[in-house]
Amino acid sequence: MPAIEILGLEKTYMVGFWRKRPKCALSPLHLTVEDGEIFGFLGPNGAGKTTTLKMLMGLVFPTAGSARILGQDWTDPQVKAQIGFLPEQPYFYDHLTAHELLNYYAQLSGVSGKERSRRVEAMLQRVGLPDVKGVQLRKFSKGMLQRVGIAQAILHDPKLVFFDEPMSGLDPMGRREVRDLMEQLKHEGKTVFFSTHILSDAEALCDRVAIIHKGQLRGVGAVADLTSSVQGKVEVIWQGTQVPASIKALGAECHVTGDTVRAMIDENQQDAAIDALRRERLRLIAIIPVRTSLEAYFVEKLQRAETTAGRMA
């Protein structure tokens, strides 16, 4: 059973002084997220990612379409007990402590009394906030707030977690920790759906991604598929500063950086290059298949969309 099935969710706002002009925030979206995967929802700012998430959370009402979450209708209140949500740049009640806040959320999620304090402590440990007893949330840094946000999203042990820009405002250490956490969640059998505009994160984490731009879906698929080697090239790296003649003869581009040389050669010439290096007794460091980065794919997709739109206009 898929974790999320989005069936034509659509949102049009009426804007303008007299509220007569329609503005489409999301064109009818059809998307499926499988159970147990980490799914990335990518797109530039204003693409419709947050709108989609808010509709799934029941914060915004769609103009058309529906969705099923964990096999149930998305408006069913009981579904909410099994999902967690981290909104973008969350903000919490200034005057509560982290413990009080999480305790409150646990109460609302139906976690029983005895379990509650145990869970709250465990969560705070897990997100890396062990020493915050008695400190009011208004004294927390942005990174700390983000961690609290994650804590509240997972403390009731939901099967499906929604993160909206989870890395925003975090330093590289923090981002690493969040990434690790998301991996852990996946290992625990949870499904993670997160939106972001930072492609490197998506590349590292996601099983599948969807790319959305100006309210329209531009592409869906496994990261590996989307970024499969299209150029058919490999990068060969070896120690030293020598470039064997045979390799040069292959017409490769070679760069010398410090004590290493990098050469870009065709895939089918890979073996020839390795032989050449062995003959010259040069130490091979690595052979890396050159993949289109997700970024390149992204940019290309979006550019194509722009030109299509331009031609149609």
């Binding site: 009402f61 209140p77 909104p87 005057h95």
Partner: protein, 258 residues
């Protein structure tokens, strides 16, 4: 379901109580009661009168400010600051949120009024050196003041459910002023004809009517308050607050939280 409402209410209460603005206002009100003593000393005979009048008016006005301040924060601020999203993504119904907020705020106001009232009674004891039976009337006046607060809260919540914090505060305050003159509004209606009469009469019943709640003047002169009036006012406050609250629930049910 009820449990969630209670949790939301107690959370609201806790958040409100920690907000330092509250303390400032309470302190101010208590200070005013103290000032009343000074003012009263200017003319010995009416010391007690001034303490009661000034003290209770201070409780009423400051409580009003608190009611509006916090009342607005209930929904408007939550939406602006997005604390609401994490709450509503849980198995919480929207109406539970509104109702819980209301009770949390009501509780806060009752506690506030209690502390401010202590200030008034302390000032009273200071000038009279004893309590008389008639002083129990002050409790009735305070009770009516709390009823007024409940109505204002429900209105603040109603406006918060669709309007920005600033506008909500303005509307709530305006309705307080209009409500204080609602009886005159009905008088105007009586003198008008035709369509105007219907419209004004309708408006006069729609706005909160506070005229019957203000007994500060009469109890300062130690005039008794009819038991029936207490009963009537209680019912009116309950029904009016229920109406405003239902309105808030209804509006909030359909609101897109952008």
């Amino acid at each position: 379901m009820k449990a969630r409402v209670v949790h939301i209410a107690s959370n609201t209460f806790r958040e409100a109580v920690r907000d330092r603005v509250l303390y400032n206002l309470i302190a101010f009100a208590v200070l005013l009661s103290g000032a009343a003593i000074l003012v009263g000393q200017i003319s010995i005979d009416i010391e007690k009168l001034v303490v009661i009048n000034l003290g209770l008016t201070a409780v009423s006005l400051f409580g009003l400010v608190i009611a509006i301040f916090i009342g607005i924060g209930l929904v408007s601020k939550e939406i602006e600051k997005r604390t609401l999203y994490t709450v509503l993504s849980r198995p919480v119904r929207r109406w539970e949120f509104i109702v819980g907020k209301f009770f949390g705020l009501a509780g806060t106001l009752v506690v506030n009024t209690f502390f401010m009232a202590i200030g008034v009674f302390a000032a009273l004891f200071y000038v009279s050196h004893k309590f008389v039976r008639a002083d129990a009337l002050i409790l009735i006046a305070l009770y009516f003041i709390v009823l007024e607060f409940l109505i204002i809260c429900s209105l603040a919540l109603l406006f918060s459910s669709f309007s920005s914090p600033l506008l909500s505060a303005v509307f709530a305050f305006s309705l307080f002023v209009i409500g204080s003159f609602a009886e005159d509004l009905r008088g105007f209606a009586g003198m008008a004809h035709g369509l105007t009469r219907w419209l004004v009469t309708g408006a006069a019943y729609l706005v909160p009517n506070f005229s019957a709640f203000n007994v500060i003047g009469s109890i300062a002169h130690e005039q008794p308050v009819a038991a029936q009036l207490v009963w009537h006012n209680t019912l009116y406050a309950l029904f009016y607050a229920a109406m405003a609250l239902s309105g808030a629930v209804l509006i909030f049910e359909y609101r897109n939280l952008k």
